[in-house]
Subunit: 372 residues, 2 copies
């Protein structure tokens, strides 16, 4: 019933309006004044002033000294997100690399460490220890730079259950790995809250931040496996158990090739990385069939091809669009936009860092309580 379940008190009003002001600054193209924020949000100037004072005192906003000039009247003081303040640690573990980055409140990447190395022989414990070391370096460098890392998120190519337990990551050969526990074993990270999520989910969030445009889209990540991240109205849809987006195992040819999952005709067997290069037309057709299922089911107006698909985009596009045109019931009423991803291999790691930042942006009040 979408039942409201928590009471609201005055403090919640303030928390909401703090987030509202912070979002207004974040989504603004220029550096808005307090008055501009008041006009944009519908709050009074008095209220905005009070809220901005809190946000400045808490180190989330700063006044930009040379304010943007206009006509007559007292000049406005421009406001901007601070680049010294809370930051998110984004981590990624994949078949052939480990990566860590720190992103500040403005979305800028402040630290970035990548270690190319085949992780399959290492095993979960060694991989995560190595990642922990990388993460520790990133964190220390960021904090030396005046940032406060408030949390970490880890992207993995696999199924993640509640609590960050990695149920299975087939291409790494992992099963039932408690990644947060292993990362907490690294002293420099022990105090950080760590979340774990599917690589495609986080990559979708990474794309969301940079595209800025459509808040509803499907991000398809073609690696050895094929995953997808579904962003509905600006929020990642993870599914009830967190297992949404397993587009690689959508059936495209019911009696087709046997997949390692045990079923026949999974998309992965036609458009996975290893099949992609040899036969783009078939891959495009299979992708087109699977993607039309998504559009018919969810009415998603935009599809972003990422991971290994991005470099093949030009060769895949025509074949995919042909299937979409034929198979999407509403294709005649409104077209489906097909785009290549823009972030490349960093998407998941940046999306991971972004989840941490997003938590601060969505609930600045709790950061302010913490900052004193």
């Amino acid at each position: 019933m979408s039942a409201p379940t928590t009471p609201v008190r005055q403090a919640s009003v303030r928390a909401h309006n703090l987030a509202l002001v912070l979002h207004t600054v974040a989504n603004s193209a220029d550096h808005p004044s307090r008055a501009a924020i008041a006009a944009a949000t519908g709050l009074t100037r008095a209220t905005v002033s009070a809220l901005v004072d809190d946000l400045i005192a808490g180190g989330l906003l700063t006044e930009i000294d040379p304010p943007p000039r206009t006509g007559a009247g007292r000049p406005a003081a421009g406001l901007a997100l601070t680049s010294a303040g809370p930051a998110g640690l984004g981590l990624e573990i994949n078949v052939d690399y480990l990566a860590a980055c720190v992103v500040d409140l403005t979305g800028a990447v402040r630290q970035r460490f990548v270690e190319h190395d085949d992780q399959r022989p290492a095993g979960a414990a060694r991989s995560l220890t190595a990642l922990g070391a990388l993460a520790a370096r990133a964190r220390l460098a960021a904090e030396a730079d005046g940032l406060t890392v408030t949390g970490a998120a880890l992207a993995v190519p696999g199924l993640v259950a509640d609590g960050g337990l990695i149920r299975v990551a087939p291409n790494l050969g992992w099963q039932d790995v408690d990644a947060p526990a292993l990362l907490r074993g690294v002293p420099e990270l022990a105090d950080l809250p760590v979340t774990v999520d599917n690589e495609a989910n986080l990559a979708a969030l990474g794309e969301l931040r940079v595209t800025g445009g459509d808040p509803t889209f499907l991000y398809v990540s073609g690696e050895i496996g094929i995953g997808a991240g579904l962003v509905l109205d600006g929020d990642l849809y993870r599914g009830v158990r967190g297992w949404s987006g397993e587009i690689g195992h959508l059936t495209v040819f019911p009696d087709g090739r046997l997949c390692r999952c045990g079923a026949n005709g999974c998309l992965e067997q036609y458009a996975g990385q290893e099949f992609l290069a040899g036969d783009e037309p078939l891959a495009a057709r299979a992708l087109g069939i699977a993607l039309s299922a998504v559009v018919n089911l969810l009415d998603v107006p935009v599809i972003v091809l990422g991971g290994a698909y991005a470099p093949y985009f030009g060769r895949l596009r025509g074949g995919i669009e042909a299937e979409l045109d034929r198979r999407v019931l509403t294709a005649g009423l409104a077209p489906v936009t097909l785009r290549a991803a823009t972030l490349g291999a960093d998407a998941a790691m940046r999306g991971a860092a972004d989840t941490v930042i997003r938590a601060v942006r969505d609930d600045p009040a709790s950061w302010l309580r913490r900052a004193g």
Copy 2:
């Protein structure tokens, strides 16, 4: 960014908490006291008292006279939703019948009119005029009974655009029909806000109310066409343009039978009502393939089979579950529950009425303003 966009003031706090109290009463198995509501919501007894007073004054709650007895102490006054108060008018137009019902705040069906008649030769204008007459009778009967009909919702087997425009209803032979405008032509309905939605979407909401259990499920309605309503976390997911749930045109056999939509191998060509009776095993297989796509994509834990599927449930179940087991990647981690719908042919009409009631339940403050 799921950006908050509206300011919050004290009045919003009250509006939220009014909805919170109303929901608590609605979702309660018994008739809770003010103190019980306070305990359940986290509000103080004083606040709950004040809110309840408003809700009683506005005619949404009533005190139940013989209160449920407990041990010691002053006896509690039980609270319940009123059965005299706001009500929703649910309308449905389908190939072979017109229907109208009125549902009160408690969810009880207070009026129900069904007119069996083939609508295909009539055309949109005549069908909607006839439905308007039926709706007018239902409304008058309900208001004679002390109810206030606050709005209407219409279920149609077709694609609906913003504003209630029916883009296409293939089985009725309709195209670009402005249903709200035609209904407003009926004098007894002219003042009612009317929304229009897809039949499967509203049937899903109808099932949601009666099942009460899982707030995330897919409702599949097998009629001549096959539609689906997707309920995510208690809310209907309509898609960006309102065209979600077109599961009938999911591709199950890419080179299979030609569908009237122009594509090959749509589910509808294997599991539509006219194909269903002859060959249940194939229908079950096709449904299983399509439904595993849904589960792989969305991690939906429950699927409800309605419409023409409900009577075939026993014969379809095994075949569908076999495909789900084989094709859903996470089938080994957690099973998918398959259920038959419980509401029968009334589901869409009741779901429609429920959307109206739901609006009052979710925002009682605006009803109170109106009620004075």
